[in-house]
Subunit: 208 residues, 2 copies
DNA sequence: CAACTTGTTGATCGTTTGATCAATAGTAGA
DNA sequence: TCTACTATTGATCAAACGATCAACAAGTTG
């Protein structure tokens, strides 16, 4: 006779409850991916009736899209801050790659991979994915163009290089979702490829 | 009063029926992804009762895993044959990249992306994904080592380069699932990166 | 203190899914 | 021809999903 005991949820202001639901959704997504986002999984996490979650969201599509956006946006800000203080574009890029490929971000990688797939059935999510990819591209493009301006990098297609970088990072991380064990080597492998794209001599990226 | 009309399926030998079901599953997966593989979607395609599909498969997990394997294996064989006759490793690699990044293989890309995500809930699929990735890696490794032996490429970590190549290809293709429009540029962007990994001078990959 | 507003819930609906099983109807062998 | 075998099916189940809505109750206002 041990049913889930929930008396009655505390009454909160709409803004507060909406924020709580959004936070719960982010937690669920980080733990089990955005494919695990259901009215019931979110409601259970904050010990609330599923209908309440539905009451605060027009539909699941938009909730998934917004949750994806929140997580990915936060990561971009976090990573951006982590790199902002470094002296040179080369150092920023090198540290960025080390950070993104250190194998500790599989939770966010899963979210990206699921988003690419689910985006084909959820247009709101697809639009959000495009927006966030644009933001990441702009971030990388900033580093690349700065490096070109300072003479560290050399390319006639900075935007293309930025897309290429993003593709490499995402692809290697996606592989790690199923292939364990090689996380430590992910970062080191990408070096020469980046040097080739940016006209650097071999090993120049990782130095110092 | 227009119900789906199906009298009774023609009686076939187990081997024949099993092959038919496998083929139907591959068709469904290529059209709508492996997430669309259900007893009912497969049964409907060959105009058969859903229970018959279940009768031929122990469970959905293995059906999905085997269907994934069949599709991906076929593509590797197809692409391998497409490139086998070319004279030099450089030509093989160049043509391979052009082929895989020409934007005409989104169907298979969707299957890969879904497999990385679904592999976390379907161990049989995850194992199959690892196996197929190993095969692709071995294929790329063969080209790289041949190039090194013939003096076209230069690297002290051919296996790492092969993984890197695979990651780049998959990442760029995955992006295209949501970001259309740039398919024509995918192939051209990867060139300098590859040249950097393989110690080639700029532009050497694409020549002739 | 009464009336009103509204945050919250249980109940319920319609779908879709994988799975099981007794019953049916072709097919081959005696 | 009769019998044994088995490929195939309809019916059905439980689980999980998004969604809706009348009803309840905790605040707020007058």
């Amino acid at each position: 006779m041990s049913r889930p005991v929930r008396k009655k949820a505390e009454r909160k202001s709409p803004a507060e409850r909406a924020a709580e639901i959004a936070a719960a959704a982010r937690e669920v997504a980080v733990e089990d991916g955005i494919s695990a986002l259901t009215l019931r999984s979110i409601a259970a996490r904050i010990d609330v009736a599923p209908a309440l979650v539905a009451h605060y969201e027009p539909n699941m599509e938009s909730l998934i899209a917004r949750t994806f956006g929140g997580i990915v946006q936060a990561e971009l800000i976090e990573v951006g801050a982590l790199v902002a203080d470094l002296a040179t574009p080369r150092a920023r890029l090198s540290h960025l790659l080390d950070t993104l490929l250190d194998g500790t971000r599989d939770d966010v990688t899963l979210i990206w991979v699921e988003a690419w797939a689910m985006g084909r059935r959820n247009e709101a999510l697809a639009q959000r994915v495009r927006d966030e990819m644009d933001d990441w591209h702009a971030f990388l493009l900033g580093i690349v163009t700065a490096g070109v301006a300072e003479g560290e990098f050399e390319t006639d297609d900075p935007a293309g290089v930025a897309w290429q970088l993003l593709g490499m990072i995402d692809g290697l991380n996606a592989h790690a979702l199923v292939r364990w064990g090689d996380s430590g080597e992910r970062g080191s492998r990408i070096g020469h490829a980046v040097e080739g794209m940016l006209g650097m001599r071999r090993g120049a990226l990782a130095v110092g």
